[in-house]
Structure formats: C-alpha cells, structure tokens
C-alpha cells in the first residue's frame, strides 16, 4: 500500500476508497461516452476502458469489496449504456456471461494481488523493525559487556586489596597499609569516574538521541572542566587557550564537560608523558572546535581505525593494564553526535590529538530548547 494510505485511519481509508471508486467509474463512463460518440458500436474497446478503471480501483482501494462492487456496476453500466439496445438492460446477449466473468475475474485477481502486496510490504517493514531492534540490542549487549569488564577490573583490585588488609592487619607495616588503602582509593575513584560517565549518557534521550541544550558561554564550560579535572589530577599542567571574544554555544554543558574531561584524562593517562597537554578552543564561522593535544607516544596504529568502538579494547590483551579508554571514547562520540558535532582522533608529529566540534546554531530538527 502506498505511504499516503498508511497515514490514514481505517475509517478514512474506506471513505477515500468510496470516493475513489465513484471517481474512477465516473471517468470511465465519461471517456466511454466520448469514445462511443466518435466510434459507435465498438463494445470491445469500451469494455477495455472499464476493465482499466476496474484495475485502477482494485489497486488503490482497501479490500476486495470496492473492486467487486465496481465490477458489478461496470457490467450493468456497459450493458445499459453502451450495448445494443442502448439505455435498456438486455441480459440475453450471447457474449454477455463471458464479458461479465472476465471482468469479475480481473477485478478479483487485481484486488487479491494488491492486498497481498500490501500485506507483504507490512511484513517486510515488521521484519526490518525487528532487525533494527536486534541491532540495537546487540549494541546494548556489547556496551554492557564492555562496561562489566571495565568495572570488574577495579572491583577486583578493591576486593583483593581490602581482603589482604583485613587478613594481614597485624603483619603489615604502616607503609604497606598506606599503599593498600591508596590503591583501594584509586580504584574506587576510577570506578566513580566510570559510573559518572554512564550516568551522563542517560541525559541523552529518545530514539533520535537529542540533548537538552542551553546557550552556554564557552569559557565557563572550559573553566569548569579544567577545575574539575584539577581536583582529580592536582599536579597535571594543562595549557588552555580560548578565543578572546565572548561566545555562546548551545549545548548540554554537563555533557560537553564530560567529553572534555574524558579526552584530557585519556591524554594524561595514556600519553606516557608529562609534557603539558594543550587544550585549544577555536572559533570558526559556524562552529567551535576543541583540540586536545598531547605530546606523548601517540595512538597505537591498530586502534586508529576503530577508536570509537566500545568493544575493541576489551578484547585486546592490554586493556587491563590500560583500563580501556574505549567506553570513554564511545561515550564521547555519542555525546558529540547528539550535539550534531564531530569527533576525530589522530596522531600528529609528537603525540596524539582529539578534535571535536560543536555547531554554533541549533539545527531545525536537532537540539531542542
């Protein structure tokens, strides 16, 4: 069935069918009259005109009944108007049953075919929907698996360290105790960070992944991100440069802060360098860009192609040592995509850099106020 039809309710579909049938029959009669006046006594072609109208009716109305009704009407009509004797019914014509049966058969067949087609289309759509859902489900499962893995690592540390502490309290030196407890503290902080990341994602809602956005001054967002980061990493130096002008950008500030912090944190942890990390914010005509550039070892080549796929890192052997940045990155990408921006990661001469952009104006279909 055509898309226009799908939008109508059942009742409207039937009303449409009635009018459409009447219209088609009317047109057929009119055309036949004209034709009959031009070329008298050519019943075959008039029957053909009516058959054509019947096919059209069967194709574009719901169910069989409109077609069958029109078929009866057409037979009577042809008989009454266009077959000798004109303007009188005569069912004794020898070829009459053949004409009638032929028209009826064509109508039925067309109606059946159309109904069938419509059903098939519906089934196809259903199937596609299921496939889509399965895809989503798969993504969710992957994410869950990755998360569980990433959560398990620090939890193992916490449980292990705390049980060592409990079982050996007497034998442990003060130094060892401090070390154990600070390990627990580190792991717990990391866990918290992870969970906060996950929580922020719940702010992105709906099927088309939209965010609530407000106009926020760029400098305040950058400043707050850096402030929060410095609470976790008091010794890290970040070289931040922002445009001089006052710029408002529509965004969910909490989410963008999360992205900035995640990317900076990745740079701190994974660059294996203490050179100051650069945070460069630039103002372009229709968007702003954030560049997070570190001067360390750069991204491993095998990661470059699937940086934002949350499942990649957990399967690789290094994830435990490195505490996969995969989820962090895929969350960042989800957030940026929801803002209609872009996120890219690449290597430069002396390390790695991540760049994300945010549009300065709200798109029609996108962010909601």
């Amino acid at each position: 069935m055509n898309p226009f039809f799908k939008k109508l309710t059942r009742r409207e579909q039937h009303i449409f069918s009635i009018f459409f049938s009447i219209f088609c029959m009317g047109v057929a009669i009119a055309v036949s009259f004209i034709y009959h006046n031009l070329v008298p006594d050519n019943l075959t072609n008039i029957v053909l005109i009516f058959i054509l109208a019947l096919v059209v009716v069967s194709r574009y109305t719901v169910g069989y009944w409109y077609g069958i009704f029109c078929c009866l009407f057409a037979v009577v009509c042809v008989n009454y108007l266009f077959a000798y004797p004109y303007f009188a019914l005569n069912f004794t014509l020898p070829d009459y049953p053949v004409t009638f049966l032929g028209m009826a058969a064509i109508t039925l067949l067309t109606s059946t075919l159309t109904s069938h087609l419509a059903k098939q289309a519906e089934m196809l759509a259903e199937h596609e929907k299921k496939l889509n859902e399965a895809e989503k489900e798969k993504m969710r499962a992957n994410l869950l698996r990755a998360i569980s893995h990433d959560l398990r690592t620090p939890l193992t540390g916490i449980i292990g360290n705390s049980s060592v502490f409990l079982e050996n309290q007497v034998r442990l030196s003060e130094e060892e105790k401090t070390e154990i407890v600070s390990n627990i503290n580190n792991d717990a902080n990391w866990l918290l960070n992870m969970v906060e990341n996950l929580l922020t994602v719940t702010r992105i809602t709906g099927d088309n992944l939209t965010v609530k956005s407000n106009e926020e001054p760029l400098e305040e967002v950058v400043a707050e991100s850096l402030q929060r980061l410095s609470k976790r990493y008091p010794d890290v130096v970040i070289d931040a440069q922002i445009p001089d002008e006052f710029i408002l950008v529509p965004m969910d500030a909490i989410l963008i802060e999360q992205v900035t912090i995640n990317l900076l944190e990745n740079a701190i942890i994974h660059s294996e360098s203490v050179a100051p990390i650069k945070l460069l914010v630039e103002n372009h005509s229709d968007h702003v860009s954030f560049t997070i550039r570190d001067y360390g070892v750069g991204l491993p080549r095998e990661m470059l192609n699937n940086l934002f796929d949350s499942t990649v890192y957990t399967t690789s052997g290094t994830s435990d040592a490195h505490r996969g940045m995969g989820i962090g990155l895929s969350i960042c990408q989800t957030i940026i995509t929801a803002h209609h921006g872009t996120l890219t990661g690449r290597n430069h001469k002396h390390g790695a850099e991540f760049i994300f952009t945010l549009p300065k104006t709200i798109k029609e279909d996108g962010l909601e106020k």
Binding site: T200, P217, E219, A223, L226, Q227
Partner: protein
C-alpha cells in the same frame, strides 16, 4: 575551653554517615547523626546544631521538605549533600535557603572547608571591609579593586557583582539570587546579561579566563568566589 561546634548530619546511608562522622569527629566537631528526615527535624530542634549537613535523597521525607521545615523556625547554616548531575535540585535547595551544597562524593578536606566558610559567614556580625585572596584585593569602603597592587576599573554593575560575590566568598550564589540582588526582582529570568558581565569581569581580573583563579563557575547553578583570606 571553647565549646565544640555541633553538627547535625541527616543522611540515610549508614556507611556514608559513619565516614562523615568519623572525619568530623577527628577534626574536633561534635556530631549527631539522623538517619531519616523526621528524626533530623526533631534533632534539629532539640540538639541545636551549629551546622546541618542534609542529604537530599531521604527515605521518608523529601530533603527539600526537611529544609523548608527547618527554615520555618531556624536560621542555622545548612549544607546540602547532592549528586553532581542534579543541578535543578541544588538550585532549588539553595533558593530555598540552603547556605551551600557539596557534591557527592567529596573529600573530607572539601567538607571541612565548606563547614568553616558557613560558620564564618554566620558568625561575623559585621561584614568584612576588605576582601583579599591571592593577588586580588577589594576595599569595600573605598570601593577600590586592586590586582597585584594595580587598580582595576570596573563598571558600576561589574563592581556590584564582584563585591556581592566577594562578600559571600566561598559560597555558591545562584543565578537567580545574583539577578535579584543586582537587577531587582522585575528583571526577566534570562541570565545572559549576568553571564556577559561575568565574562567582562573575568577578562579584567583573571590571567586566563579558561583557568580562573578568583571566580569559579558552577554551570547550571551559579558562581562561587575564592574564599577571603583576610579574616
């Protein structure tokens, strides 16, 4: 000997309650813990605490309701404990009369600092005449703002804004509180004018607006100024 400062903690999670109590007692405070809102309200009346720490997610009564009830008869400083993503909740609490908030999870040092700030604001009967922190100095009587010894020129509004923050240094002030104080109650609720003025102030007193030293942003909530050292 000076009487110990009494703190009432209203928090339903026993493990968190225990850790806060231990930390506070270690710092010489006297602590009383309530596990429910109702218990908290009755203790607030009988125990006469100097500061109340209030968790907003309580099992029996909404934390905001507890705050509202306590505020009907007491002016005791209240610090709200809340999760990070719930800006709206924090703003509501602050506008309903909470003195400050602290985001869970927090370190003990941060908590101590907040309690000290709260106590000081309640007990200093006369307002400070001078604000001084790092290289910034504000003389409220002379209406003078100095950065590294050099005078800074601010517009009327900017000066009012900065002094409002300085007088409440260490505490977060909500957008609506600031808007009300500077522009009056009939200003429309759009706070862009405030944020533009803050941006101008930042350009005058901060070396790098991206890494401010004096005025901190708490997005979705308001602004907080670095604590006054001149006490």
């Amino acid at each position: 000997m000076k009487a110990r400062i009494k703190i009432l903690l209203i928090e339903d999670d026993k493990s968190i309650s225990r850790f806060i109590a231990t930390a506070l007692e270690g710092n010489g405070y006297k602590i009383m813990a309530a596990l429910t809102g109702k218990e908290g309200i009755s203790l607030a009346a009988s125990f006469c605490p100097d500061v109340i720490l209030l968790d907003l997610g309580l099992p029996d009564v909404d934390g905001l309701q507890v705050l509202k009830q306590i505020r009907t008869w007491s002016n005791v400083p209240v610090i709200v404990l809340s999760a990070r993503t719930k800006e709206q909740e924090k703003v509501e609490a602050l506008d309903m009369g909470a003195d400050d908030y602290i985001t869970k999870p927090f370190g003990t040092e941060e908590l101590m600092a907040r309690i000290r700030t709260c106590m000081r604001h309640r007990h200093s009967g006369t307002p400070d005449r001078i604000y001084k922190a790092l290289n910034l100095e504000i003389n409220f009587e002379k209406r003078l703002v100095k950065l590294e010894g050099k005078e800074i020129h601010l517009t009327q509004i900017e000066y009012q804004l900065l002094t409002l923050l300085a007088e409440n240094s260490g505490r977060v002030l909500t957008y609506s509180f600031i808007m009300n104080a500077i522009w009056g109650p009939y200003m429309d609720s759009n706070n862009q004018i405030l944020r533009v003025n803050m941006a101008n102030i930042r350009r005058k007193i901060e070396k790098n607006p991206a890494q401010p030293q004096y005025v901190f942003t708490e997005i979705g909530i308001g602004y907080r100024m670095l604590d006054n050292e001149h006490v």
